[in-house]
Amino acid sequence: MSDLTTLTAAELAQRLASGEITSVQATQAHLDRIGAVEEQIHAFLNVNTDEALAAARQVDEQRAAGADLPELAGVPVAVKDVVVTKGQVTTAGSKMLEGWVPPYDATLVTRLRAAGMPILGKTNMDEFAMGSSTEHSAFGPTRNPWDTSRVPGGSGGGSAAAVAAFEAPIAVGTDTGGSIRQPAAVTGTVGVKPTYGSVSRYGLIALASSLDQAGPCARTVLDAALLHDVIGGHDPLDATSLADPAPSFASAARQGAEADLTGVKVGVVRELTGEGYHPGVEQRFTESLELLTAAGAEVVEVSCPSFHAALAAYYLLMPSEASSNLARFDGMRYGLRVLPEEGPVTAERVMAATRGAGFGAEAKRRIILGTYALSAGYFDAYYGSAQKVRTLVQRDFTAAFEQADVLVSPTAPTTAFPLGAKIDDPMAMYRNDIATIPANLAGIPGLSLPSGLAEDDLPAGFQILAPARADDRLYRIGAALEARQHHAWGGPLIDRIRPQEASA
């Protein structure tokens, strides 16, 4: 493995800035790494070698000419395939969009390009971000770099695995119910779901508009913060984008790494522990809590009683919105068109044939579930009630944040499960999101960082939640915990992946 791929984004940025390395070298090193491990990992759906190197060359030239460049200029990045990239195939993991070349860039992609960050390629995902294992990708699953017989989580398993396997220093993910945080947890990486509206959704192929949020995937809290700083900020093309200026998250992370946590109250959410959570996961969680206490934080217990209904509310709201968002995939304007095998070829029948052939099983399941929840006669009982639960979840968070500055829980109840283990049991798959979903319902930010290896030698995740617009708190406290963990462990958890993956 090349040295350059083991560096964090912050370290790469520093060496690029000092002229020690070039962006072409950094980008090529990661492309080489991709070439070496993709056969085992399959984190990417498309690798944009030429374009990434061209972008790297351009930023090198600018630097050579003495240009004042953004901090991450020249640092390569991977982007989840649910984010549209002009001129680069974007599929959202679906046959429906196989080969589709978007004529425009998502706002966050515009920002990556403006920051001089070469885009290595588009990462694998569950089809239209529907899933918790990346097994629902139409183009084959991604494998967990810690154990390639296991899933990397989902839906953003590709971005998390790419970062964990050193194919990219950082990556963009999206999180509708945990799709950044849960893969981060099971791949031993860091993932952040920002406050709803912190990162523009313009150009994100929507799953559930009121829940979707793009965010960073990284190997360190600081790297996540650096990437959040690049992709975040107000966008007039997204009506739900927050207009208020955000503080520098990288500064928050840097301060946090040094910080004493005296006076900080950390709330453990009673409803997000206990039954269903593996003992190994809980054990690592408790150890990290002890590190926080040792750093001066006060740990309190809080209760969020309506969280027990959050999963149900989520699995009504998300499919409802999805059923409408995915209606546009009909074979009329772009993407797949399939003609009916028999009978007249009418627009209506071509739409149905296209959607029957183009959507995978999970997409069909959710679209039909959402159609049901929105249909006449059921709306009040399902969608209407779920919206009320959303209110209750928000109230629970409001009350809890009166008692604590941040809330914490294990990110996911288990470590990575074997490929195929839950593919035929949708409810079991859905329960992976139990701890991550409440943040999406309330629009608040959440961060997952490793808490260690559970008894099965697989990573477990530690989730930190903050009030809306207080993303900086995640980075400050996350970085503080991370520093103590590294001290306690004698280095980052991700370092322990190497002996194993060398044999992969």
Partner: protein, 99 residues
């Protein structure tokens, strides 16, 4: 209220414009029935006095000024269409709707 049968799933699939094979309908009916039963609990949680939340953050009045912005190159968009003709999207014959 969570008893879904294959006829209902077929109706929903038609509403969602998705062709399902009989096997798919059968399998989905079983799966959806389990899911619906699990999620149906939401209706028992919140009382009438609880307002609905449609947007996670309570923003209002986000407007765009009435200004023309850049448009797409029609050929670039149409090059991605399954079929095009005369700079338009060609679609199969449309039946059963407004002339």
């Amino acid at each position: 209220m969570s008893t879904l049968n294959t006829a209902e799933v077929a109706r929903l699939a038609a509403l969602a414009r998705i062709d399902l094979t009989p096997e798919e309908t059968e399998r989905l009916t079983g799966e959806l029935d389990v899911i619906v039963e699990a999620v149906a609990t939401v209706s028992t949680v919140a009382g009438d006095d609880v307002p609905a939340t449609s947007h996670p953050l309570p923003l209002v009045n986000v407007f765009r000024e009435d200004e023309v912005t850049e448009t797409l190159d029609p050929q670039e968009v149409l090059s991605q269409a399954p079929e095009q003709e005369d700079q338009m999207f060609a679609v199969p014959q449309i039946l059963g709707e407004d002339a």
